[in-house]
Amino acid sequence: MIQIRNLHKSFDDLHILKGIDLEVGSGETVVIIGPSGSGKTTLLRCLNLLETPTSGSLELGALHLTFTPGKPLRRDETLALRRETGMVFQSYNLFPHMTALQNLMEGQVTVLGRSKAEAREKALQLLKKVGLADRADMYPHQLSGGQQQRVGIARAMAMDPKVLLFDEPTSALDPELVGEVLRVMKELAQEGMTMVVVTHEMKFARDVADKVVFIDGGVVVEQGPPEQVFEATQQERTKQFLNKLSV
């Protein structure tokens, strides 16, 4: 589904991603872990071109993008890739001037050109799925953080993306609200949604991930099935990172 090859990203002369190779199979859930500043967010943002990679290549389904320093992407390539990816943000980023329902309808109508009726039906169905059917007409500020994030997930799903990207979707939440969001994500994973998740929730990684990727200093240090990365850790840097978390 996704094939990332030798991906680099620099901000001016700050070299952040230093040659990332990563594969995400169809229906897989890949969890990315790593210390603060290691480039997790940057990598995820490169996957839907909120950041343009400096060099390397990215394949998603039938789309093949190659990045060359100093050469901007074509607009249609950018839009095409974004249509195939959905993004769930740490701070939700719901549209505050729209109800939950309208948040889910907006992209469908404006971008995909669906009719209002069709978009509405899809939106209601997704709100039901994330347990918020009764909150459809509420505005974001009237919802709890956990509810907002579930709307955020449903908004991304409404566009029928091939892959969902999550950047620390639960780290802005009060601890008692984390569970409801992770439950929704787990359900999606089990239904065969392809997902790339940056998170510090190790239990989620153990239970749900098909693959765990440890990133440090802008490179993939170690990757494999969760049992392997967590129980049979190969690399010293991974061990240190995991040790610090469990203390």
Binding site: M87, F89, L94, P96, H97, G107, Y139, P140, H141, R155
Partner: protein, 225 residues
């Protein structure tokens, strides 16, 4: 009642309708038309400034610099008295509309630009992440939110504009203030007439600040915290 008091009372009563009429027929339309056109100019100038295109943003910056750096009265004189010498003769009303439109456009563009910039980056990113283009994100997500930010300062500039239209008297437009001047010229009661004009301006701007309050109330709902 002595003669002087009676005379003043007569002047006030007789002049009130002509003054109000000049206000309603010229002052208010001049302000409304200039403001509506000015908002369009302001939005275009703000978008040009934000476009990242050097030429466009340079032009917008130059325009704002000129208009904000020179007195409105001087601008009106250039348009009405100056342009005819290069063959461009405009009536008082069109001249005033052009002058005030350019003024609203310049000050308004700064307000709109600030309002657009005040919208969190995350809103743009969320719009892009559902596949929107720049103009879709602008139209559907950013402008509606920026409007809420821009309404109070724009309403303030509309109230200023109502008052500034009195400058059009200097280019012979028979709006409220000029009518007050004309009546003064025949009655020799400047204190009475100009105070009366002031009261009518006060009525206009007070009504407008009620409208402003109502608008702000409407627009302040559901704003991101």
């Amino acid at each position: 009642m002595d003669d002087r008091t009676q005379r003043i009372l007569d002047i006030v009563v007789n002049s009130f309708l002509p003054l109000l009429k000049a206000g309603v027929e010229f002052t208010v339309p001049l302000a409304l038309i200039s403001f509506a056109l000015g908002l369009v100019v302001a939005l275009l100038a703000a978008l040009a400034r934000l476009s990242g295109n050097r030429v466009l943003s340079g032009i917008a910056r130059f325009y704002v610099w000129i208009i904000r750096g020179t007195p409105l009265l001087v601008q009106l004189f250039i348009i009405f008295y100056g342009l005819p010498s290069i063959g461009l003769t405009l009536g008082a009303f069109p001249s005033a509309v052009i002058g005030f439109t350019l003024s609203v456009g310049a000050y308004g563009s700064e307000i709109i630009r600030a309002a657009i910039q005040s919208i969190a980056r995350g809103q743009w990113e969320a719009a892009y992440s559902v596949g929107m283009t720049y103009s879709q994100a602008l139209r559907r997500i950013v402008i509606p939110q920026a409007t809420r930010v821009a309404v109070p300062p724009l309403a303030n500039s509309f109230i200023s504009l109502i008052k500034d239209t009195s400058l059009a008297a200097a280019i012979t437009m028979t709006e409220l203030f000029r009518v007050a001047q004309q009546i003064t010229a025949t009655t020799y009661e400047p204190l009475v007439l100009y105070s009366e004009a002031a009261v009518i301006y006060l009525i206009f701007s007070t009504v407008l600040s009620w409208v402003q309050g109502w608008l702000e109330n409407r627009f302040s709902r559901h704003v991101a915290k």
